[in-house]
């Protein structure tokens, strides 16, 4: 109990959207469209009010303390290990509450107009409230077990929302892909969580982050790989974080997730859920920073994804996919920033959280603008747009602000947060990372202005679409204008005074960083203007001259193809098919290893044994006999090696077969064309 109303009632923040979900989802009929929308909006709006109230109280009175304002024992494993569920208020959780509630509220308002006339209107708002609830639960979780539950719950609501247009096969494939790829990553998280909590003797974040626990964990050697328990669990937990935040190579689900409605992309796949991985690393930052391998992995994964995704973004023609790759790249920035930070030199930590906040604003804004454009021209393809600035002035203006912000043009918000990251990278002495980040900054400016110019300038490409285009209704433009304000001005807030993990030294502004990043950004913008301001031959000529590289980049470095090659050609032919055959024949019939050819064997098996009770009996008796013999002659050790080898092989084979199925069902690659 803190004695402050909003902090004491912080549990209201997640609870309100949950009530909204229950009401809209269960109690309102599908005909109550208007009521359901306003219920949902009111629930999130009230939650935002509570969030802001709590933030005001927290930052004015408790700056720095980690408060648990509500807690109850949930699972008692043993007398020494109890899983509590609670509400944790500290700097970053309050920050994230602000970001999530505010942006979620604006996007709810926007959706009220955007989803107008959609069949699943009520369902949409119910799911959006469910998501908001889960996300708020995630950021406010006080224990790692609780965060895992909400972690899966945001995955589930993301699954439901990506597959919102379930009539479309692509949407179905995408939602399954997203769900299952992230679940794969969560496997690491779950094991990491078990290892961590068992050895630390607690699930509570305050315990896990305490120096004593960290030292204790660092002192235990893991049973395999020879590293410490601390490193092992950090790596495993990071696998989960990388999956949710779509870090390379687990990024494959995010671009496909754009099949969901645009407000969903804005809320879940740009502003909130995808940064959960960053949040998790930040949440366990003391733990991560204590292990070199863990923090380096965070840094290099972030840096690589940052550059890799920016390169791909250049070539995409679907406006939402460009934004998706841009999101990947920006989250890479945040990871990178965490990776270069340490407990002594925590500028990167602050920078990461700062970038998370500004990015949430301008990326949500970009998506909402894109949604507004898509709403107007009924196409995702930038080649169908062009010249829209006169038709859609508000959208155009807000999109421009967001583009300038993400490109890092001073004095907009993105400039400050990105500079802080670059400065942190430079200070930490990781010059290669600095170079990558700076390059990516230039690329960002280029591809953002590329789609900006192609959409709003250039010549109208499709006369018919151009003619029917019009500005969106007030419910959609209002959130755009509101979001444009923080996108432009957030940089002025003295962010590091609010969010930091250890006392920051105040560096003098590093003019070198400012110069480099601004120059690169402006160069990128200039190049984009050169190519795309008016229809011209430059891009085609450029693409022609570098066609090999261009194609390579366009096809996303052939990653999908590589997966297909490995899975389809190698795995399927030589491993999966026999496995399938095994399922169909051996389990049911009986195998004869001495048969001359597979064909004869198949025909022969059909004749002799199909569904026969005796074959089953024989199989069982032989199994028992072999087990007995093996236990006696070889001893238990060898049996475990042999049998678990068989099991592991089966599991591995299955994973590949399964990946293959996923890829076969996901959308085929887009046309290779030059815009």
């Amino acid at each position: 109990m803190t004695g402050y109303w909003f902090l004491d009632h912080l549990w209201l923040v997640p609870l309100l959207p949950f009530i909204g979900f229950i009401v809209t989802g269960l109690f309102l009929g599908s005909s109550a469209r208007r009521t359901s929308a306003w219920t949902a909006i009111a629930a999130v709006g009230l939650s935002a009010v509570c969030g802001w109230g709590a933030a005001f109280e927290y930052f004015s009175e408790f700056n720095g303390e980690a408060l648990v304002t509500f807690e109850f024992p949930w699972i008692e494993f043993s007398s020494s290990l109890t899983g509590n569920a609670g509400i944790l208020a500290d700097r970053i959780s309050i920050l994230l509450v602000l970001v999530v509630t505010t942006i979620s509220f604006l996007i709810h308002v926007y959706s009220q107009g955007y989803m107008h006339g959609d069949r699943g209107y009520r369902r949409f708002f119910a799911f959006m409230n469910l998501f908001t609830f889960s996300m708020l639960g995630l950021v406010l979780s006080s224990s790692i077990l609780e965060i895992f539950v909400f972690w899966e719950l945001v995955g589930l609501s993301s699954f439901l929302l990506i597959g919102f247009y379930w009539e479309r096969p692509a949407a179905v494939a995408a939602c399954k892909k997203a769900f299952i790829v992230t679940r794969f990553a969560d496997l690491g998280f779950l094991i990491g969580l078990l290892v961590l909590s068992y050895h630390a003797g607690s699930f509570d974040f305050r315990e896990l982050n305490s120096p004593d626990t960290i030292n204790h964990l660092a002192g235990i050697t893991a049973p395999f790989f020879g590293c410490s328990i601390l490193t092992l669990s950090a790596l495993l937990v990071f696998a989960g974080a990388a999956g949710k935040s779509a870090m390379f190579p687990l990024h494959i689900w995010l671009p496909d997730a754009m099949e969901g409605p645009t407000p969903v992309s804005a809320l879940i796949h740009a502003a909130t859920m995808v940064v959960a991985g960053v949040y998790l690393v930040a949440r366990l930052f003391p733990m991560f920073s204590a292990t070199t391998a863990g923090i380096d992995l965070v840094m290099w994964t972030g840096a690589f994804t940052c550059l890799f995704a920016a390169l791909i973004a250049i070539t995409q023609v679907d406006i939402k996919r460009v934004l998706a790759f841009s999101t990947l790249s920006q989250i890479g920035y945040m990871m990178l920033a965490l990776g270069v930070a340490s407990m002594d030199e925590s500028l990167g930590y602050t920078a990461s959280m700062f970038h998370l906040t500004t990015h949430a604003c301008f990326k949500a804004l970009l998506f909402l603008c894109a949604g507004s454009v898509i709403h107007a021209v009924h196409s995702n393809d930038v080649r169908d747009m062009g010249g829209l600035r006169k038709k859609m002035p508000i959208t155009h203006f807000t999109f421009l602000i967001a583009c300038l912000a993400i490109a890092g043009v001073p004095p907009l918000s993105g400039f400050f947060s990105k500079d802080e990251i670059l400065a942190a990278a430079l200070h930490s002495g990781e010059y290669a990372v600095f170079a990558i980040a700076a390059t990516a900054a230039g690329l960002t400016a280029f591809y953002m202005f590329r789609i900006y110019l192609l959409t709003f300038w250039n010549a109208p490409q499709d006369k018919q679409r151009y003619d029917q285009a019009h500005e969106s209704p007030l419910s959609m433009t209002f959130p755009l204008v509101v979001l444009a304000v923080p996108s432009a001005l957030l940089g002025i807030v003295p962010f590091s005074d609010f969010v930091h993990i250890s006392e920051l030294e105040h560096h003098a502004t590093n003019w070198m960083v400012v110069g480099v990043s601004t120059t690169l950004g402006l160069c990128g913008i200039a190049l984009a203007f050169l190519f795309y301001f008016k229809p011209n031959q430059w891009p085609a000529r450029f693409a022609f001259a570098f066609s090999g590289i261009y194609k390579l980049v366009f096809r996303k470095f052939y990653i999908d193809e590589l997966y297909i090659f490995i899975t389809h050609k190698i795995i399927f032919r030589s491993i999966s098919r026999p496995l399938n055959w095994f399922d169909r024949h051996i389990i049911d019939g009986f195998m004869d290893l001495t048969a001359q050819s597979a064909r004869r064997l198949g025909a022969w098996l059909r004749k002799t044994a199909t569904g026969g009770a005796q074959v089953y009996l024989l199989w069982s008796i032989a199994g028992a006999g072999v087990t007995m013999l093996a236990l006696h002659i070889l001893g238990a050790g060898i049996v475990v090696v042999a049998l678990s080898g068989v099991g592991a092989a089966a599991v591995t084979v299955f994973i590949f077969q399964f990946t293959l199925q996923l890829l076969n069902k996901s959308e085929p690659l887009k046309r290779i064309e030059i815009d």
């Binding site: 024992p73 589930l156 290892v195 569904g611 069982s620 199994g623 028992a624 475990v640 049998l643 599991v651």
Partner: protein, 480 residues
Amino acid sequence: MLENILTIGNELGLIILALTVLAIGFLRKHSAAGYLGWSVAVAGLALLSAWLFISPAIDKAAFGGVYQTGPAPVFFKQLFIWAALLITMLSYPGKQSSNVLPYRHISEYLGLMLFSVSGMCLLVSAQELVMLYVSLELITIPVIMLVAFNRNDPRSHEAGMKYVFFSALSSGLLLYGFSWVYGLTGSTLLPEIRDIIDSSPIAVTALVLIMAGVGFKLAAVPFHLWAPDTYEGAPVTITAFLSVASKAAGFVLFYKVVEGFFVDTAVTYITLTGVLATLTMTIGNLVAMHQRNMKRFLAYSSIAQAGYVMIGLSQPELLGKTAVMYYLLVYLFSNLAAFGIVTLVALRSGREDMRDYAGFSITNPKLALVMMLSMFSLAGIPPLAGFMGKFILFAAAAQAGLYWLVFAGTVNAIIALYYYLIVVKWMYIMKPENGKPRIGPITTPAPHAIVLAVTTLAILLVGILPIFLEWAKSCAAGGF
């Protein structure tokens, strides 16, 4: 003597209930006899469950120690009685005659099921090999006949045939193993055997023989092959009974004769159970992916689920036992919700194929929602009950340092997620051929509706409310 008889009141009650229901069956000429028998069974089971609740769960022996009750036995008895109660309600004799369920002989059907449940209750309390054997047969023999009960379906007899030979072979192996246990220890009392038995070669042989016998009951690989055929051919409610109650009884048997006897041969024991768990869940999951008959699909799914539970068996500490018991509780509700839907659909439309479920969410949105929840719970999606169950199982294995087993379990959970989503896909996404769903709107009779409501509530709440885990844990602490 009177005290002895009062102690076994639970089993006696079940037997008297079974005989009453059978006696009502003699009034077959009256049209209401079926309803009467059914109502008596439901009321009786509910009373027995309530009685178990109010009677204090304390260690109590009868008949000179061959019969023992206590917290853990009461937990399992409650589990069996709940399963029987829910399945009896699912077997509600509706107005129309159906060829899916044997309603013409509802009294025999319910009577046999109650006999089987009494055997399960006896098994939990048995502390002696002869009694264990007798109770095992009391479980199995009625179930064999229930599997073969549906005279209108030729598959039913074939399923019964497969089941009878497998159970005969399994009890043969088990008995032969028992004879060696007796030869090693000179006693048939379980506590004495536990103290005496060592890890000589013949004990290892006996371990494998007994494990084979128990493996049949659990449908553990490689003794699982009967399960899919039997599950598919049996009347659908009996499939539910087999996959929930009979399987739980298998775990009790495991604790009594495998864990109880051989846990000291530690390496062999952990190795065997761990490997068996891995193989069982992997093979169950891999084959389940290819199934399109709902009953067969649920059969392989329940093989895989048993594999998960066996993870808990390889951790002989308290947490392992808690995890097993808690998971069985979770599994009871999750699986019965799925079977409730499948029963209802099979009963009303005669459809068992997964492909027939295309468009199910349009014609029956509520039933589809329940089915989806149960699939998600079986797949282990938080915060549904199934997730918490799996989490505790994995935590138990991690505590024992069996990280490879945790890994195998989590990988399998993802595989499972994939095929449970296939069902959801058919219900929610696939368009029916000709645009007309094969399964029309289904009116749910009150007993079915109650079962579905109860199981759905349990799926939603068992994982979240700490009380259920507490209960499982306090019961597990008592031991068998």
